[in-house]
Amino acid sequence: MVTRAARVGHHRVDGSRVAESSARFRGGAAVRVGSDGFTPDGQTLLTTAPAGEVQRAVGLTMLASIPLVIAATLPFARQAFPGFEGVLPAYATALFLVELITGALLLGHFFAERRLAVLSLAAGYVFSATLVPAWALTFPGVLDVFGATSLDQATAYIAALRRVGFPLAVLLYAATRERPPLPAAWTWLRGLGTVCSAALAAFLLSWAIIGSDRLLPPLMRDARFVSSLWGVVPPVVIALYLAGLAALWRGRRSALDLWLMVVLGTLLADLVLLSYIGGGVRLSVGWWVGRAFGLVSASIVLVALLVETTSLHSRLGRSVAAERRARESRLTAMEALSATVAHEVAQPIASMVTNADAALRWLDKPQPEVGEARRALSRIVGDGHRAGEVVAGVRTLFGKGSPAHRPVDMRSLVTEMLARGRPEAEHARVKLLSETGPGELEVSGNAVQLGQAISNLLANAVEAARSTPGGPRSVVVRCARVPPGKITVSVEDTGPGIAAEHRQHIFEAFFTTRPDGMGMGLMFSRTIVEAHGGRLWVEDVAPHGAAFRFTLPAYEATADA
């Protein structure tokens, strides 16, 4: 079976190995929350993020299609299209719910962002929504709650109120959108208070309109046809819509601004169809198409908010998962590091204790043997320095100064590592070969770390090749330039290869298939290579065996960076 395993040679102790293991803490496990576009500073919030390409395209297409729909409606606009009054309550219900939910979602945004602009818009939607029931209940011939003929003017007045109220809210929004967030205190009270006031105002106004129906100057000649007074309303509202559009156009536009422009555009179309093309005649084709525009325009912001919420939620989920993974790998690396440090420091400490015991015994003899004691004490000094180096290595890595990056000649590094690995390979009766390509083979980095990465791969390869029963047992180390500006090193063995089920785990800490392996070598090697801006991977070799390859940027490629 597979005997390849991550390996840390344990027989030579120095600070550098610890240094390599903690390299992971600097480069390996960074939390990349921002990689999928989500950043905690709210840059993707609908209310603050600039409109994306797709959003702009969709919005402009919708705006551009409005004249087309109007043009298509023109020939039939004034034709009466009665008999569909029954749809009106459903229409009103939809309108009411859509606007109310939009208001609620915007209020939620306000609670998170505390921006006055968003609150004005929320109030505008709630105000508009609250007027819908009154409008529907007073619509002649629909519900007859107030009697079929008693209310002639209320419906038109309420409709006019809605048309004036909403663009005013948008104007307020546009005027205040550059303002900084409100102070955190009283956010809930402020938000709920404003929205409830808007709802209350709408309720009281519609109550007043219904109550004083007969006293109001007539907007309607009868249940279907407008009076001459109605002629004043559309120009005013259109002026408000255009003012809103202009205000939104000005300055840096967020995604919400874009959608509000589409909303105003559709409302404008609605009004034009209703008042001019449909001639103000209720239940005409133009009027019905206007209703459809009204529903669409009410839904636009809701849909945008829902899309945003959903995608935000899923992105949030992804980044939480990514962060958890990063934290886990950081933990594993932490455990790996502490195990290594413990081992590397325990060795000199054990040696120091035993040397000190020996020295004491030599001195406690009836004839103290000072020479022996001296030798034991000088070994203690050596061990102390050794332990100190390990600790210093760790400190360097956790401190600010990272190990210096210098030009490293990979050709001589490979030769050196092969020379070091030769005794072990000869013992295992594995042939070590090397092939280095022509030209400069320099990279920028830490020679000790890179040497450790190569020697780990080499030790694994020898271990794998040794388990080949017959046939050639060899390990080939290749080093060459590959365009553009890269140096590649590969360590190829004639072992049994990597089993498919192990392949995805071999670079994990503590993963090993050897009974005495620590399962750290490959993890360290990969960490080192990645910290040098390279990549380490494994490939199968025919007819059997594995090749671990890594690439590093060539020295000149990194020199100008």
Binding site: A346, S351, T354, A358, E372, R379
Partner: protein
């Protein structure tokens, strides 16, 4: 019977040897110094292969062995020695206080399992115990060798008579069984007792038991 043991020339109390096998230079030197300071003869090695290559020690010995070693590990050496019928006492030292590993080592007959850093007295006591055990084992083996040599020096007839006597038969019964005269049996028996250096019948029984315990059924 195979000649299991090479001839032993060393005196009964040849100076014991403590073998220290550790790959860490300083650790090896410190162990050597400590053991020498209490008067042990110490041989240090950095791999188990070097130990196996040196052959069997010719004196009572004890091994102080690092669990993790390059090449074959300490546990592997323990298995190898046991398989070769050479159960030297082993004191393991390890940098990793690994419970599973120490259980495996103790089950395989290790004398002691010490986690670095350890108290010198614990190591010295364990080594002392190990040497004593090995000394006793060697003494037992030497004694058995003597017995085997003496037994081999008996004539087949003497061996036969001795075994029958040890199984509790009277001279008369032995004579009848072997179709010999009782006087001849007595002579054979006396010769056997003398050659085996047995002073009494129970002594003879013990000798036969000791021999049979180490010999395949014959």
């Amino acid at each position: 019977m195979p000649e299991r043991n090479p001839p032993r020339h060393e005196a009964m109390d040849a100076e014991p040897i403590v073998f220290v096998i550790d790959d860490d230079d300083s650790m090896r030197a410190s162990l050597e110094s400590l053991l020498r300071s209490v008067g042990h003869r110490v041989v240090t090695l950095d791999t188990t292969q070097a130990f196996l290559a040196a052959g069997r020690p010719a004196a009572p010995a004890c091994l102080v062995l690092d669990v993790r070693l390059p090449g074959a590990s300490g546990l592997e050496l323990q298995r190898e020695l046991a398989a070769a019928g050479n159960p030297l006492p082993i004191v393991f030292v390890t940098g990793h206080g690994d419970i599973a590993m120490s259980v495996a080592a103790m089950k395989a007959g290790a004398l002691e399992f010490l986690t670095k850093p350890f108290r010198d007295q614990e190591l010295l006591d364990a080594v002392h115990r190990g040497i004593e055990l090995d000394r006793q084992r060697r003494r037992r083996e030497r004694h058995l060798d003597d017995l085997r040599r003496r037994y081999a020096a008996l004539t087949p007839r003497e061996q036969e008579v001795m075994r029958l006597a040890a199984s509790g038969l009277l001279n008369k019964q032995i004579a009848a069984g072997l179709a010999l005269s009782e006087a001849t049996v007595k002579v054979h028996r006396a010769h056997a007792m003398q050659k085996m250096q047995a002073t009494s019948l129970p002594d003879l029984v013990r000798i036969i038991d000791a021999l049979d315990a180490t010999l395949p059924e014959s």
